[in-house]
């Protein structure tokens, strides 16, 4: 009797462990830092053409929202989302700010002349450290921020039509 009870106990434990393994087979184990920071620091970033330094807060006119889009000419998904960024650039109370990530100036210039320049202002992140201060970890990444530098929404990866419509809705 005791042996039988032991056998059932061990069997149950094995079933339990296997079911956990089985369940985690289908789980996404990639960690995405979705909502870690709610507010950006008022950091100062160099501008693309003039090499002047701008504080993030100085980029805003009052009552305005900013789309901060991290892009690079070598980034293929950035070409994909470019259309949507361009569509957003004509929205009234929205300023589109580009952050050029680890790029060569010539290539970045060519990217913009080929596909058009939707950005009201372009900043540079030469060695990727500015993006770390923003809490970003790759390209493309897009932040919707208000004039107090609160992050209203953060998109990791290229934005699509759905995201574009969502942004338009959020700033209404």
């Amino acid at each position: 009797m005791k042996i039988k009870l032991q056998f059932i106990f061990v069997f149950l434990i094995i079933i339990f462990v296997l079911s956990i393994f089985f369940k985690s087979l289908f789980e996404n184990k990639n960690y995405i830092p979705e909502k870690i920071i709610n507010k950006l620091d008022n950091q100062s970033i160099t501008e693309f053409y003039s090499s002047k330094n701008y504080k993030l807060k100085d980029l805003f006119s009052p009552e305005e929202y900013i789309i901060l889009n991290i892009w690079a000419s070598w980034c293929v998904p950035c070409r994909q989302e470019h259309l949507h960024i361009t569509n957003l650039s004509v929205v009234d109370n929205l300023k589109v700010v580009g952050l050029n990530y680890k790029d060569k100036k010539n290539n970045a210039g060519k990217f913009l002349s080929d596909l058009g320049n939707p950005y009201d202002i372009i900043l540079i992140d030469k060695n990727g450290t500015e993006s770390i201060f923003l809490g970003a970890y790759g390209v493309p990444e897009t932040f919707l921020i208000d004039s107090e530098l609160n992050i209203l929404k953060k998109y990791i990866g290229p934005i699509n039509l759905e995201d574009e419509l969502e942004i338009k809705k959020l700033i209404k």
Partner: protein, 125 residues
């Protein structure tokens, strides 16, 4: 002649010193980046990875070290940006309490089992 020799020694010493200090600083960057997870190629440390993100983190670490930040300040900074997940060692707090306590508990429990068995065996003898 002697002055020339002194000059040479001085220059050699200076070169040696600058190489050594750069080396020591790299050592520190290595040490810190080994304790950080890379978010792009998950499963690798920032030290092992050559992704753009990892390279930037390494640059940031050396910049922070030069500006006088301590190791724990750098960890705290990165944790504030990317969450606790970026460091390999989990922090001791409410949600990780079980994680830290359970092995200790099991160790003590197992030890007690062994002690009990030994005592029983002895009393049988």
């Amino acid at each position: 002649m002697i002055i020339k020799l002194f000059k040479l020694i001085f220059i050699l010493f200076f070169i040696n010193f600058s190489i050594f200090s750069a080396f020591a600083e790299n050592k520190k960057v290595e040490e810190i980046s080994k304790n950080l997870r890379c978010l792009i190629c998950q499963g690798q440390s920032v030290y092992d990875s050559n992704s753009e993100f990892a390279l930037s983190v390494k640059i940031l670490i050396s910049e922070k070290l030069i500006s006088g930040s301590t190791e724990s300040e750098i960890y705290d900074f990165l944790k504030s940006k990317y969450g606790d997940w970026i460091v390999y060692e989990p922090e001791f707090n409410k949600s990780t309490l079980l994680l830290w306590i359970l092995p200790l508990f099991l160790f003590i429990f197992g030890g007690l089992l062994i002690v009990r068995k030994v005592i029983i065996n002895r009393s049988i003898k």
